[in-house]
């Protein structure tokens, strides 16, 4: 059976859910952001560069990026998410760190750490990507030296169609194969910094998905840049 119409009524298979983003939402943090796509929302706060404890983790030649992803206990449908570390959150924290690190330049901060905390109050699939988008804006807001932002969104296959930005209903599609492929990208070079998948997809469709998702990244990039421009209307001449 053919997947003809998106479950949530989106008009095309590449249409993203509505996105909002804001920089500077947590005053206590050195940098922060809110990023919402559909019903998936993420807060990100950046603290640092600051001294890294324990000291045996310090790197004498550069600063370290550390990421922590957490779903609020009431953020998912059905059961409460038990607080405390779990395998899923730990893995996502790790891939988030690796998704963001390639654009950061922490050479001027030996022995220091930049902490990124991502918290999701509401999730409807695509939460790691939303967290990465928020974190990237928050890092820029904190003034951490960066070559570019990082954009992230999922792509994949639902039934016989290659789609971008799957929501939970699409991930749960039962009339055909489904694959979910979270992707993060450096928009200026097109390089991938996050690539995961579960489900099944042909190689041809995978390459098609990666081609389609690249176009969506530009849309996300604009929203992220606008969030920063709204907070810093001077356009980068502001030292603080």
């Amino acid at each position: 059976m053919s997947y003809t119409k998106r479950v949530d009524g989106r008009k095309s298979f590449t249409e993203l859910r509505p996105i909002t983003a804001k920089a500077g939402v947590i005053a206590r943090a050195d940098g922060s952001a809110y990023f919402k796509i559909g019903n998936t929302a993420a807060y990100a706060a950046v603290y640092g560069p600051r001294e890294l404890h324990p000291r045996n983790k310090q790197i004498p030649t550069r600063g370290l990026l550390r990421c922590d992803y957490v779903m609020m206990p009431f953020s998912g449908m059905g059961d409460r998410v038990r607080p405390g570390p779990n395998r899923r959150a730990k893995e996502i924290s790790m891939v988030t760190q690796k998704a963001l690190d390639p654009v950061l330049d922490l050479q001027d901060y030996p022995n220091a750490v930049v902490d990124v905390f991502i918290c999701l109050p509401e999730t409807d699939a695509g939460s790691r990507c939303a967290g990465i988008c928020a974190a990237s804006i928050a890092l820029a807001d904190a003034g951490v030296p960066m070559k570019d932002l990082i954009c992230a969104v999922s792509t994949g296959q639902v039934g016989d169609k290659v789609v971008v930005d799957l929501d939970y209903a699409e991930e749960a599609y039962s009339d055909g194969p489904v694959s979910d492929i979270p992707v993060a990208m450096i928009p200026s070079t097109g390089e991938l910094t996050l690539l995961q998948m579960d489900g099944e997809i042909s190689k041809k469709d995978l390459m098609e998905a990666l081609k389609l998702v690249k176009e969506s990244m530009n849309e996300i990039y604009e929203v992220q840049k606008n969030a920063l421009k709204d907070k810093y209307p001077a356009g980068g001449d502001d030292d603080e």
Partner: protein, 261 residues
């Protein structure tokens, strides 16, 4: 005495706070409902720059054997390091445990929710009400923000649909609210030297000698107390603090809007 404390005390002598408020004056308070769609109830509370989100989850479970016909309530607080440079990652700190227990007691001991009405089948099936409070930004007075957010989220909650076979359909929500009997509001009064203040900012919290959290109901009945801080309180202090807390609870109660009774 720290410089910050000296500064605060000098101001208090003139009847003023660091940010220009009077001693018994709250910052602006706002309550917003329905901020997280997957939670059965949710609310965002802002007190000045302090922001917290609270969410309610409703699950079916088995009752405790000594209370076979009663549902259960649990209140948790997650002090994510997102919200303040002073919060650390890792297991719950004593601060978050105290905060959660004070809010929990305020709601539980007031009998805010009719536990018997949460029983589905005696000895077998009950509703478990989980309230989780997550600060987004801590600029002081998390106690009162957390307490207000918890009751607001409880007021916002609606039961999910239960199918004929007994399974819960979380995609569909009924119009039935939680069986709320009372709406306790905790207010914390802080003593710095001989002065009593409410709604402290971070610097004031650090300069505090003692605090008393007083949860009260709309008729002024007190339903939970918690003393904190290293210094002592006199009975006269408690007298004044209680009057102040009950008066302020009335103000905050009005922020719950049309849903409040």
């Amino acid at each position: 005495m720290s410089e910050s404390r000296k500064h605060i005390t000098e101001y208090l002598k003139k009847g003023l706070r660091l940010d220009g408020r009077k001693l018994d004056e709250f910052r602006e308070v706002s309550v917003e409902y329905g901020v997280s769609k997957n939670a059965e109830g949710s609310a965002r509370v802002k007190i000045g720059g302090t922001e917290v989100i609270a969410g309610v989850k409703l699950n079916i479970g088995t009752p405790y054997s000594d209370r076979p016909d009663e549902g259960t309530l649990m209140v948790g607080v997650e002090l994510y390091p997102l919200a303040s440079p002073e919060f650390e990652a890792g297991p719950p700190s004593i601060d978050s445990i105290e905060l959660a227990r004070v809010v929990d007691r305020g709601i539980r001991e007031a009998g805010a929710i009719d536990n018997k009405a949460l029983c589905i089948e005696k000895g077998e099936k009950i509703w478990i009400v989980s309230v989780d409070i997550c600060p987004i930004n801590d600029e002081g007075n998390l106690f009162d923000a957390a307490g207000l957010a918890a009751i607001a989220a409880i007021m916002d909650a609606k039961f999910p649909k239960v199918e004929k076979d007994g399974t819960v359909n979380y995609k569909e929500r009924t119009k039935t609210p939680l069986p709320i009997k009372k709406r306790p509001i905790p207010i914390t009064v802080w003593r710095i030297g001989n002065d009593l203040i409410v709604d402290p900012i971070n610097e004031e919290e650090k300069s505090t000698d003692a605090r008393l959290t007083i949860a009260s109901l709309s008729d002024g009945v007190i339903c939970a107390l918690q003393k904190g801080g290293d210094a002592t309180l006199t009975v006269e202090d408690v007298d004044k603090m209680t009057d102040l807390a009950i008066a302020k609870a009335k103000d905050l109660r009005s922020k719950l809007g049309g849903k409040s009774k």
